[in-house]
Amino acid sequence: MTNNNYIKRLILSFLAMAMIMLPGTALAAGVPDPINKDMLESGKKVYFKRCVWCHGVEGGGDGPAADRLFTRPRNFIQGTFKIRWTDSGELPLDINLINTVKNGLQGSAMPAWGEFLSKDEILSVVQFVKSLVQDRDFSDEDEEVNNVITGVDADLGDSGKGPLGDPPWAETKGPYHLGIPQEHVDAGKELFMKNKCWECHGGEGRGDGNPTMKDDWGFPIVAANWQQCWNHRGARRDVYNPFVIARAISTGLNGTPMPNFREQLTGPERWQVAAFVNSLCPRKKIDALTLKPIPDFLIQSVYTEGQVVPKIDDPSWQSSDTDDRIVSATEELKENPKRHHIAMAGQITRGKRNFDPKADNLWVTTRWSAEEQAVYYLVEYDQRFMSADPEYPDAVAIQWPAKLQDLFGAEKPYFIYGDSKKPVDIWKASFMAKDYSATNAPNEKGYQLDMSVKEFVGNGFDALSDKESEAKVEIVDSIYHQGRVKVMFKRSLKTEGEFDVQIPSEQFIPVSFFQWSGRDKEHDEHMAISTWYYTILKPALPASLYYMPPIIAAVFICFQGWLVWMTKRTRKMYDEGKMRRDELPK
């Protein structure tokens, strides 16, 4: 019966609120959703089985997992929640917390619980989490909540500060939210410049603006990388939805340096900034379970007529991060190599483990030339800040089986530094950015890199040795530009060294990648790794592609002529009575 009473109370309070809001002139604010005490007992059960491991016994964000996570789990005690519909600094609505639990926080360890817990369990654990807030009180009459997104509970007066409202464009298309008119994107870019979003988010939105930020608890924090929108915490499993950005601009992210921009931007303007930010994120097929782009497990090296131009800026190296199955490539990019997406994780297997790798993924583009007998790999990745300490340079490496010819079938060396029977060949490029300081303003020209290359032979995790032979791998071009490192490797297909991989064409070759963030003092096995991928040197287009189709078509035309001739002849024979038609039963 208490439940019934509660519902009555709820309806009454809604009615009361509606009455207050009806006149619409007064600046009326709502009160927070009070804690439903009836749900606390069941919520506690869920919390102490599922949540306590990260969020801790008292909700202080200090569970056993916390110290090895970046970003750290939420500390509930202060009532500070990032993803809300309410104004900066205000408590969240129940619906906000419910959605967070349901969909998880992408790019963090918080998974989506929507399919794992029942609806009631989610509702009750949210009530329990609210009860963990100590510094504020959800039933305090002085607590205000203004719903600045949908504006259901509040009328915020003039348009500049009002609810977000609808986007100024008609609907977007499909799961990738394409089709926002360019004029809005361009307008958004101007607002981005004017409001200095780049101070934190960097010149091209890779979050490379400010290295010194702290959250409310004094832990270091970085700005979101807009080019990897699948890691946006509030993405709610709808990665490409511009609403995610529009909401963040409207509400700010409590506990972080991200303010709201409602003073500076009207509702439609916030949508335009969202359109611009959203346009930066490459469209990739997103795995429905892991919510990350599906890796391109086959890295295809494009055959190049004559010599490859060893310049990252050259038109022959341009390609789109977006999957051409989603948005087809423009005419000038059609023949260029694709940019392959390689997923990276921390090395948490051996030795000093890396629980918080700074690079989530790499992009690899590759060409090869029969004339030069050489292959080129352009490896790119987003890195917010570069190292300033020569003892810990940034680095990226490509790993190959050293004895490809000895591998049988799908056999591969162990994926970290090979094993005793199957050695690996590692090409490692280490570099420092010249004239660089992490606090510099965005630099459109980018920074040149001080580069050194080394080759290693790996015969197991603790058996890594410098190759004695002279290095044959070259770094032909490299740059650090607006938060992205770009390094172009080159090597001859065939070399002399005993432990050099000999690269055949038209054959699947295992390949994997390592990456070190110098600024976080990553070195040796303390690094980010990928699993084994395959690469293949694609052959030139066969000449038969141009003469075979017309020949076959001509042959088919002859066949058609024959068929017509035959059919007519048979008819004639029937008509002249030389042959009898098959008789039908009477």
Partner: protein, 321 residues
């Protein structure tokens, strides 16, 4: 009104209505003995037969053939569940097409009727059809040739063994454990007694929950990156690895294994997999390098408690063996 046209409309409009309006009703979340997709399909076929009978429609045999073929296509593509791979789909459709052809050529009359428009198009009595066919077909053939010659590469398919054969014994931290007879030393009580107990809160009250708490602590410091906060193999790093990390919620993993088997897998990881049936390509670390023996056992205890599965046992009490 042309009866052929009526028949065509009966088929097309009927299919549209059935597929969009009635199909959703027959595919509820809880499948019933009547409300299921196959009953729906039979109803659709019955609808076609009955309307044709009542309206006395007799479409030409080529259209009947088209209907029969279309019904088969619809069944394999949309009704049959779970969806079948496209290779299988093509195999089925080839067989269905042969069946349709047999239906058409069941007697000389229908077969001749079926052939008539084709012959007319070939000899040029249907002039327009002849011109279109004679031009379109060679272009299509040329295009198909181009497509088949154009080099394209797919990543190689790799088959692998899911469950390796365990060794008879495993040596961890200097002590040898026979896998057949080793039990979890921390399984001090019946697991089901602690379904409603809490880690941390009840850790002081029950020895069992103390071990579960300690095991969970280790899990959430080391294992969740791959195996996930929900133990479902969807941790933050899981998308990086191939094969993907094991899903402990799935009835095919820890639920069907002995604790000693898991002890061996956790201790030795990917590098400790037996040589036969390689390549394994497992990214599982050999945890003996990072964890103490008792920590490994506690993690295993926690995994069973959290998922609710019971370890498989070989012995007098076990009937599964």
């Amino acid at each position: 009104m042309n009866k052929t046209l009526v028949s065509f409309l009966v088929f097309v409009v009927g299919l549209a209505v059935f597929h969009n309006a009635i199909f959703p009703i027959f595919t509820p979340k809880e499948v019933g003995w009547f409300l299921n997709r196959y009953v729906y399909f039979l109803l659709f076929v019955a609808y076609l037969i009955i309307t044709h009978f009542i309206l006395r429609l007799k479409p030409p045999i080529s259209m009947m053939g088209l209907f029969v073929w279309g019904i088969g296509f619809y069944f394999y593509k949309f009704v049959l569940y779970p969806p079948i791979p496209w290779t299988l789909f093509i195999t089925y459709m080839v067989m269905w097409s042969i069946g349709t052809f047999l239906y058409i050529s069941q007697d000389p009359e229908t077969f001749r009727e079926f052939r008539k428009p084709i012959v007319k198009a070939i000899v040029g009595e249907y002039k327009l059809a002849q011109i279109v066919l004679m031009i379109a077909m060679p272009i299509l053939v040329g295009w198909a040739t181009y497509q088949s010659i154009y080099p394209s590469f797919q990543e190689p398919v790799e088959l692998r063994t899911v469950h390796p054969a365990p060794p008879a014994t495993t040596k961890v931290h200097g002590k040898t454990y026979p896998l057949e007879s080793t039990n979890n030393p921390f399984r001090v009580d019946e697991q089901d007694n602690y379904k409603d107990s809490f880690p941390f809160l009840d850790a002081d009250k029950h020895e069992y929950m103390k071990y579960v708490t300690e095991g969970g602590t280790i899990f959430f410091q080391n294992c969740h990156f791959c195996h996930g906060d929900q133990l479902n193999g969807l941790g933050m790093f899981s998308h990086v690895f191939n094969p993907t990390p094991a899903n402990f919620i799935d009835p095919g993993t820890i639920a069907m294994l002995q604790e000693a088997f898991i002890f061996w897998r956790v201790s030795k990881g990917g590098p400790g997999l037996p040589n036969e049936s390689t390549p394994w390509s497992s990214a599982m670390p050999p945890w003996e390098e990072h964890l103490k023996t008792e920590e490994i056992w506690k993690v295993i205890l926690f995994e069973y408690w959290y998922t609710g599965w019971h370890p498989r046992t070989f012995g007098t009490e076990g009937s599964e063996g």
